[in-house]
Symmetry: C2
Subunit: 265 residues, 2 copies
């Protein structure tokens, strides 16, 4: 047993979609969430910058005495996880491997679309991981640089969001993918619109759910579960005050964001 909190970080509000799934899968775990709003967006930053930022965030969470870290950000997972994961003495997981492990178990998934930030698509991390476990799968990549900033603006259900999504999913319709990975943790906030635009035949894969399941197994395997029936303590840190963060958090996980710290870390 291990009472220490799980650490989660993201560039902004996207990681909240992962947080909301983790607390469903692991309702007794304490969690510390770091939203690096000051350095948002990560999507177009260089690999070197993303690695530096990721190390900064990991060091912050380790000082807060976490037992495990979830990189709840597609860009940081794709650009920095490999570089950092063996440098610390606690497990560090991203969103790609858990999602692809799940995909590989599903039948009827053969043609996979990936929406992600420009940096993530450039890194080709999703496709590489998919080819390891599903060598016959076909992958269609699409960089969607406007989506994360749009979500941060709070535009998740208006005409602009609808038109931007229509434009970005065009290639997936043309290629008739059978499934679509939301490769950036901001995108689940646009899931309904994306599903509407693509139609119900396409299975949309939200990374948060898979990360939740993966984490459950990992805590068990490593014997680092928290106390059962613990009433969890959630702490949030933001590197820049963001009204949007609080608004989205209150919608996504009502009555949870009462312990928020604005800190330059």
């Amino acid at each position: 047993m291990d009472d220490r909190p799980i650490g989660i970080f993201d560039s902004g509000i996207g990681g909240l979609t992962v947080f909301s799934e983790i607390i469903k899968a692991l309702p007794s775990e304490n969690i510390i969430y770091l939203g690096d709003t000051k350095q948002f967006p990560y999507g177009n930053k260089s690999k070197k910058t993303i690695i530096d930022i990721t190390k900064e965030n990991i060091n912050f969470l380790i000082k807060k005495n976490v037992k495990l870290i979830v990189i709840a950000c597609g860009t940081a997972t794709s650009q920095a996880l490999e570089e950092v994961k063996d440098k610390y003495n606690i497990p560090i997981i991203g969103i790609i491997k858990p999602t692809v492990m799940y995909l590989a178990k599903e039948k009827n998934i053969r043609k996979i679309g990936i929406m992600a930030t420009a940096g993530t698509i450039r890194s080709n991390s999703w496709e590489k991981e998919i080819k390891k476990l599903m060598p016959n799968a076909k992958v269609i990549n699409k960089a969607c640089p406007l989506l994360a900033p749009m979500v941060e603006e709070g535009w998740t259900d208006n005409e602009i969001a609808r038109l931007v999504i229509k434009e970005y999913v065009k290639v997936f319709k043309e290629e008739t993918v059978d499934s679509l990975i939301l490769g950036c943790t901001h995108y689940p906030l646009l899931k309904n619109l994306i599903q509407e635009e693509l139609g119900n035949k396409v299975k949309i894969i939200d990374t948060g759910k898979q990360v939740g399941k993966f984490l459950e197994e990992l805590l068990h395997k490593e014997k680092i579960n928290g106390k059962p029936k613990n009433i969890p303590n959630y702490k949030f840190y933001l590197t820049e005050i963001e009204e949007g963060f609080i608004k989205v958090a209150n919608n996504l996980i009502p009555n949870t964001i009462d312990n928020i710290n604005f800190s330059k870390k």
Copy 2:
């Protein structure tokens, strides 16, 4: 007389709007343009990062033996110009001061709207400069984080661009501004749509034109004009290959982009 080229840099294609005005004002000057496409967008990066990037870009241009540098980027001007301008032995100018000097000479400008990136608005640089020369002017600020990425996507004349602009200019219509500064060099590519949405009574101020005039006077004052009737040599450097850059350049300044270098600097 000074035959050395003028150096210009921006995070991407925005600076081309300044370039196109400089070559009108100074048709005999040689120019080296650096488009730091790899690190685009600057809009949301921290002040420290912007200063580091600005120094990198200045050092690159100085090695190319330029006689003067134009920071053709609203974000880098607002966050880094003050920090760097006295550290080099050539003049370094931005887009804010030339524009505000022009504004201060105009009558009937009293209520000024500013559209810019989140970083520029946060820095309050435009308002500070305006208040120095026009203490009675009223300033309405609006951060527009989606506009520069939208221009880089090439979405400058579609329904999405129209709706996004409608949303961002709402506050200027409510406040009935008499003039509007396009505080990011990407925005002149959206000028027609912005003017349509605001109506013809609002004077839209495009920084490139003012920078062109300012530069003409400065070269004269410092006695560093190039050879008159010189057939100019234009060189372009990009830190990442960007199809969009070439497309926009060919529209904005036809037959000019034949000398392009893709370099990591």
